[in-house]
Structure formats: C-alpha cells, structure tokens
C-alpha cells in the first residue's frame, strides 16, 4: 500500500504557480526522492505533505488518511499528521539539551517517564548519540545536530519521514558518509522516506525511486538507473550527470535502430524508441565515448584533467567540444590527435529556433 499519495497537487503564491499538478506515490519501505534545481517546487511539495503549506488544489493521503483535499476543504494541521521531519538547517532547539530535544515529541504525547527514557535510548542509539545526551546544540558539530534532528523525527514512530535537503549544510566528506548512514537507517527501520534534494548524485545514490522536477512539474519518475540511462527529455538528460549534446539528423530507421548523421558527415547507429525523424539532438554521456588512435571520428585533445579514479578530457571533433571520461589506464597528451568512438547515445528532438 502507498504510504504517501499525492494527486494533482498545485500550489500558487499569488499569481506564481510554484507546484503544477503533481501526482506521485511513495510505497511502504521506499526511499523516494524529489530532485530538481532550486525553485522547482520540490520543497513546496514536501511542505504540503507536512502540512506546513496549504495546497491550492489537489489531495494528499498519508497512509489511509486523507490529510489534504482542496475540494472537501480538508487541511489536517501538521501537529496531528503522522510524520517525522528533518529540516535543512536541522532546527534543533538551542535552549534544550539533546535529551530534551529528542524526548519532546514523546513528552507531548504524555507518555510515562520510563517509556520515554527507553525509547529515547533506542533513538539515540539508532543515530549513535548516546554519549552526547546532556549536551546543548551549540556544543555539537553540524553532523551531530543533524543526527539529533533525525532522532527527534524518528522517536514518535511516524508513518513517513520527510527530509528537506538535510545534507546540504554538511561538508563534502560528511555528506558522503551520511548518505550511507541514512540509507542504512532506512533499511533497519523500514520507514518510508520522502527526500528532497537538488544534488543529483545524492538522489541517485540513495533512492529506490526518484521524481525529477522542473518549473513546478514532475518531468520523470523512475529508478535511478532508468533516470540515468533513459532520461525522458533534454532537461533530465542535462540535469542528471554529465551529458554532451551534438546536433544531428536521423537518416533512417530499421526497427529500434536509427541511423544518425552528424554535421561532419559521420554516421552513427543508435538504439532508439523515440520515433523521431529529421533534425535531432544526440546526447552522449562522457563515459560512453572511447578514445583510441584508430577511432572513426578524428579529434584533438584540448584539455586534460586528472580526476583521481578517471581522466577527464575536453576534445574537439568537427568544431564541437566534447567531454570524455576514460579509465586512467589510457592517458593521452594535450594537443594529441586521436580518434573517438561513441558507444551509445540518446536522441532528442532538436532545439526549437
């Protein structure tokens, strides 16, 4: 059963349409991300689920409960929704100790003291904060405050966990580490998570499913692999990972195989189900281009940069500059004349104008 179901959700601020008819569902035990550039409306969707914003239109269910319905005038207050939430700036209350911050949701439920203490111990253990229970937030690092916020959100045993860019204030190293911890925590607790981020690497690494949003709309929903290998449109292709775009023309099609011709006259056959014809845009991931002295398309290495586990090139071929990433076993010099081969590509309709 779906733990969160959103149908035709819209949110207007004055005349600005921040969220435009969004529909999505988060299953039980699922890690679901909303991914998009800043201002795309992803946080607004999350805040509508939390009840912190009232939708202009649409319905939201959490579990079996309808928490929002514009038609029936339902807007359940945040405080009685079965949610846990973690904010971008953690929102750990500075005047309370870690203990009091995390215990607060249970105190509100007026549970007996012993039960609160037992659950508190569990929650602090889950996030690894047992030792810091008596500290104040000002004595904690960003990562530790993050865990306090997480424990506070989990302790009331909500039906869903809502996370609003929780990692964006951490430094790069800690962010990587927290990705795994979050994923692991979700496995252990089995709690469904709705996760908002603008960081595509984060979304790809953690999600079971993700929805890519742009300008208030959902552009594509899928697994990380689907989104990466089969982007629905040019926006997704560009936003997720690195992508080269080269103009071309579709010459012919046999079944699912299309033959594309570049401006230089080089031809390429591409697996494609788009049904496009005529002018098109060929999208190629940097790792789907291979370099060799004998490659079919002549090119010249313009810039080479060392990327640790790989080597990053900018090469010029027939007037176009392409980004290429190869294993470090093959290293070419700047200025070297080579050939390149395209392993696979995706076709999109040509740019208007």
């Amino acid at each position: 059963m779906d733990k969160i179901r959103i149908s035709r959700l819209s949110k207007k601020y004055g005349k600005v349409l921040a969220v435009d008819s969004v529909t999505l569902a988060v299953e039980d035990k699922e890690f679901f991300s909303l991914l998009g550039p800043s201002g795309c409306g992803k946080s607004t969707v999350l805040r509508c689920v939390a009840g912190l914003e009232e939708p202009s239109e649409g319905e939201i269910y959490i579990g079996a409960t309808r928490v929002n319905s514009s038609v029936d005038g339902i807007n359940v207050p945040t405080e009685i929704r079965p949610i846990g939430m973690v904010f971008q700036n953690y929102a750990v209350w500075p005047h309370m100790t870690v203990h009091d911050n995390v215990a607060y949701p249970l105190k509100l439920k007026k549970l007996p003291k012993e039960i609160i203490e037992t659950k508190l111990k569990d929650a602090l253990h889950t996030v690894g904060l047992e030792r810091l229970s008596d500290r104040y937030p000002s004595q904690l690092s960003g990562g530790e405050q993050q865990r306090v916020a997480l424990a506070r959100a989990l302790i009331k045993e909500p039906e869903v966990l809502l996370l609003d860019e929780p990692l964006s204030n951490l430094d790069a190293k800690l962010r990587e580490q927290m990705r795994f911890e979050l994923k692991d925590l979700q496995r252990r607790t089995g709690i469904p998570i709705l996760y908002v981020t603008h960081d595509q690497a984060e979304a790809l690494a953690m999600s079971d499913h993700l929805a890519v949003m742009n300008a208030g709309r959902i552009v594509q929903v899928g697994t990380p692999d689907e989104i990466y290998t089969r982007p629905a449109d040019r926006f997704v292709a560009d936003f997720i990972g690195l992508m080269n775009f080269v103009p071309g023309r579709i010459l012919s099609r046999i079944g699912e195989e299309a033959t594309v011709e570049f401006l230089s006259g080089h031809r390429l056959s591409v697996l494609d189900r788009s049904g496009l014809s005529g002018a098109c845009l060929v999208a190629v991931r940097p790792e789907d281009i291979s370099l060799s002295p004998t490659g079919p398309i002549r090119c010249r290495v313009e810039v080479r940069s060392y990327g640790g586990h790989l080597v990053d090139y900018k090469v010029r071929a027939d007037g176009a500059v392409l980004r290429v990433q190869t294993a470090k076993t093959e290293v070419y010099k700047e200025g070297e004349e080579l050939g390149l081969a395209v392993q696979q590509a995706i076709l999109f309709a040509a740019r208007e104008s």
Binding site: L52, P77, H95
Partner: protein
C-alpha cells in the same frame, strides 16, 4: 478525523484584537469624534474657536516654530558631534559618546527642572555670571520660548546624533578614500562626499527631533506657562482644566495631524535612504580623519560641551537635593541629607513611588505579553489580518501622550465604565503608550527565531499552546526581558499622561516631582528626582549589559 480543524491562532488574534480596540482604537476615535461634536450635534465649532481666538491659534504656530527651531539646532549640533565622535581620531571617543547619550535616559521634565536650577534667575550659573561680571540681572531668561528651544535641543539632539552616527558607521570608507585619491582635501571630502551621503540620516533625525519637540509637555509646561507662552500640548492641558473638551479634542486632532504628517515625511526619507545602496548594513570600520594639531583643542571643546549638557544638569539636580534650602549660598555648612530623609518619609512620595512601581511593572508585563502575541501572529504565523493588528497596535507611537490621556478620559471616564480617579485609567493609558515599543521589540526578537524551529515543533506534534510555551517564548525570552526594562524605565518616570489623569491617592513619581517643583519646593523635588535618576541610570546600565549594548542609551 474531522473534516475541519479549528485554528486556535484565530482565537488568540480575536482576543488581542479586542484588547487593541479597547485601549487604542476606541479611545483615539473618541478624540476625533468629539472634536466635531458640539452639544450633541456634528459641527466645526471647536475648530472655529481655535482659529478665532489668537491665544489658541498662536499655540499651534508656537508649536510649529518651536519644533522647527529645535529640529534645526538639533541637526546642526547632532551632526557636528556625530562627525567628530565617529569619524575623527579624538581621544576617549567611547566615553564621550556614552556621556553624550546619557541625558536622554532621563525624562525631559527633569532636564527642565535641572536647567531652571542652572540658568534660572537664581540658578548656579546665573549667580556665577552675576558675581563675575557684576550685572544686575542675567542677560537671558530660561522662562519663555528661548529657554524652551534650548532645553528641547539639549534633550533631543541625541536623536540626530544617533541616526547620523549609525549612517556614518555603515558608510563605505572607500567612497571617501576614492575622493582622497582623486585629490580632494579633508574639508572638501566632508562637504562634497560625506555630508551629502548622510544627508538623509540628518533629515530623518531632524524630523524625529521635530516630533519629539512637538509632543513634549514637561519642558514647555515648566518653562512656558509661567511666561504665558503656550504650545499645543500645554494649551490642551489648559483646555482640560477649564474644562472644554471640544477645544481640547480639536487642539489634539491638530497636534496628531502635524505629528502624522511629519512621521509620513520621515518614513518617506527612510524608504528613500534604503534605495541609497552606498550605505550598506554592514559595519566597515571607516578610516578615521586625522585632526593633527586640532586634536586636543577640539577634544577640550567637546569635553566642555559634554560637561555642560550631560554632567552639569545631573550635578545641579544632586546639588540642589543636598541644599539646606533653595538659593542658599554654596558652602559645606549648607549641605544636608535632610531632603532625602524628608522625601522618603513623605507619605505622598511613598505612595507615588509605590504607584509608579505598580503601574510601570504591570504596564511593562502586560505590554510585553500582548506585544509577543501580536508579533507571533504577525511575524511568525503571518495570519490574515495580523498586519492590521500590528498597524493598529503601533498607532500610539505617532500620538503625543497628551492626546492619549485625553482619549482615555473620553473613553473610560464615563458610565458605565468609569475608571476616572483610579490607577486603572493611568494603567490603560500606559498600555496604549508603551504597546508600540513592546511590539517593535518583540517583532525584532521573533524575527531572529528561525521559522523552522517552530515548524519542527509542529512536526513533533506540538499544538499552539505547547509550541508557544516550550519553543517560542523560551527563545524570545532575552529580547522580552530587554523589552520589559525598555518599557518599565520610561513608565517609572512618566509625567505627561499621569499629570492629566491623576487624582488624590493616584499620584505618580512624575506628578509629585512636578507639583513639588511647581509649588516651589525645589530641593524636595530635586531629592526625589535624584533618587529616580540613580535608579534610571542603574537600570540603563543593566539593560546595556543584558543586551550587549544594543538597547538602552
């Protein structure tokens, strides 16, 4: 789960709305309404009266020219002092600044009393001048227009000083450095770069001084009435003594109109200034101007000014309190503590101290409480209609206190609810007077509390009252304490409202000091004033410590 969940915040807003209506909107409406009423019918008779009797329309003109003169002098004095104290390498600048701001922590009618002691016919300085130069009488008079403008200027120049000092501190030093690099000398830079850039601040400060002078009662009352020189506030006092409510309300409405016009102008200048991008919010520590050979002469000059306007009046007040009788020759034999002993044992004074403590304490607590609720609804919850609530609660800021006192008489001194002659009518007036200050402090405090802190409480399952109790109020507490003191201190020494509303047994400290002074018991008045002065300076120091120098003077 029911389909609709009643939002308790609207309940809170309704309660506060009723409160603001009762203490602000209804009383002020009464003033306006009454000014157009004659024997129960609408008429312009009261206004006709104002403009057909020279003594009344002269009061209006006097108010305007006295305030204009004060504002002009304040702009000159305040700007000069701000330039010297902020932008030059004068020694002991911090101390100078603290001392310059000190007199503003004391009530203006204390200043009037002190300056009467210094410059009045038998004043300390007057006697000194007579002795030294052998004049028969001193060539000035503290009673009358000149004295009023002088004391108003000494009291209100600080408003210009503070706004200009703030602008100078926020000004980007590179603007002046660029002028220097272009070949301009110090005086050219001052005239062509610095002054034009801080001109909006000078104007804004000048208008604040204008409003202060316009609304002031204590100074023209103590220095003007004796010389039959009336301004609007003292005319209103006079009209109430007749009593002629039509006349009093007509004069009040005109006073409010002038104040509102000035305030609108000031608001316009501030908005204009915010478009002035060169004066940014950040402090950039502008370079100091080197005074070189002028450094010590100017320091001596400023020290003399500081001693004259800040220290002399306070010394004079304490000295008078210690004198065996007013006008006694200055000698150790004539010094005594008996005035203090008398005042502390004097029943009316004791009662007044208790009354003032009660009024100030209750007014500060209630104003901060209501202010916090209004700020919460406006700044945090952002409910529909909360903006209007905030606006109405801030209205009394623009209304001179004399007018607020009249409003309370009109609204709450007639059946079925007659509070006249009780402490409650003064309390209601204090609530109206100090609510704007409370709301401003709590607005600023709650703006510092990030929205997500309350949202996290909601997500934790906290309803409205637990949220306020556990999260919002504890986080706002430091600001609320500072705000409480900020209301308590002026309320403790308040004169204008209580002089119009007091009755036997409901005197305040201000009323007793004023009446003692007026009846000629100057050394007794000075003793009580000295005690209050000590308390105020102490309170101010605590406030500055508490807020790290942000609040207080």
């Amino acid at each position: 789960m029911t389909a609709t969940h009643f939002d308790r915040r609207y309940l809170l807003m309704a309660a506060v709305g009723v409160f603001v209506s009762l203490i602000v909107i209804y009383p002020l409406w009464q003033v306006l309404f009454r000014s157009f009423l004659d024997a129960g019918v609408l008429s312009l008779k009261s206004y006709q009266k104002v403009f057909s009797y020279p003594s009344y329309y002269r009061a209006l003109l006097n108010s305007v020219w006295v305030s204009c003169a004060t504002a002009t002098l304040c702009m000159v004095l305040g700007t000069l002092l701000a330039l010297l104290v902020i932008r030059t390498d004068l020694p002991f600048k911090k101390t100078l600044r603290t001392l310059l701001v000190l007199p503003y922590a004391l009530p203006s009618f204390f200043a009037a009393i002190a300056w009467i002691q210094v410059l009045g016919p038998q004043g300390y300085l007057a006697r000194l001048v007579l002795q030294v130069f052998g004049f028969a009488t001193v060539p000035w008079s503290i009673y009358g227009a000149g004295g009023i403008v002088f004391v108003l200027t000494v009291h209100y120049f600080i408003l210009v000083f503070i706004t200009v000092a703030g602008a100078l501190e926020r000004m980007d030093a590179s603007l002046e450095e660029a002028a220097r690099a272009s070949g301009a000398g110090t005086s050219q830079i001052m005239r062509q770069i610095t002054l034009p850039l801080v001109l909006p601040a000078i104007m804004a400060g000048g208008l604040l001084a204008f409003i202060g002078a316009l609304a002031n009662f204590g100074i023209p009352a103590l220095l003007g009435m004796r010389a039959r020189f009336f301004v609007l506030t003292t005319s209103i006092y006079y009209a109430l003594a007749i009593p002629d409510f039509g006349l009093a309300t007509a004069l009040s409405s005109m006073l409010v109109l002038v104040a509102l016009l000035t305030m609108a102008l000031q608001f316009g200048i501030q908005r204009g200034e915010s478009r002035f991008t060169v004066i940014s919010g950040k402090a950039v520590h502008p370079s100091e101007l080197k005074l070189r050979s002028l450094r010590y002469p100017l320091f001596l000059l400023i020290s003399a000014v500081v001693v004259f306007i800040s220290i002399l009046p306070i010394l004079s007040m304490v000295l008078t309190a210690l004198m065996r009788y007013w006008g006694a020759p200055l000698s150790a034999a004539n010094l005594t503590l008996q005035n203090f002993i008398y005042v502390l044992g004097f029943e009316t004074a004791q009662r007044a101290i208790m009354n003032s403590l009660f009024l100030a304490g209750v007014a500060a607590t209630a104003a901060m409480f209501v202010g916090t609720v209004i700020s919460y609804l406006h700044v945090k919850a952002r409910l529909k209609g909360s903006r209007a609530l905030d606006f109405f609660a801030t209205i009394p800021y623009a209304v001179p206190h004399t007018v607020i006192a009249i409003a309370m008489i009109l609204a709450w001194a007639k059946p079925p609810v007659s509070l006249y002659g009780t402490l409650w009518i003064i309390l209601v007036a204090y609530l109206a007077v100090y609510l704007p200050f409370a709301v401003r402090t709590t607005n600023a405090t709650l703006q510092q509390v990030h929205d997500s802190l309350e949202e996290a409480a909601k997500a934790s399952g906290a309803k409205l009252f637990p949220r306020l109790r556990d999260i919002i109020l504890p986080l706002a507490r430091p600001g609320m304490i500072a705000g409480w003191i900020l209301v308590f201190m002026p309320a403790l020494r308040e004169l204008t409202v209580s002089i119009l509303l007091y009755a036997y047994h409901t005197e305040t400290i201000g009323v007793v000091v004023y009446n003692m002074q007026d009846a000629g018991y100057r050394e007794i008045a000075a003793a009580l004033a000295s005690i209050v002065m000590g308390l105020l300076i102490l309170g101010n120091t605590i406030l500055r410590k508490l807020t790290g120098g942000v609040a207080g003077f």
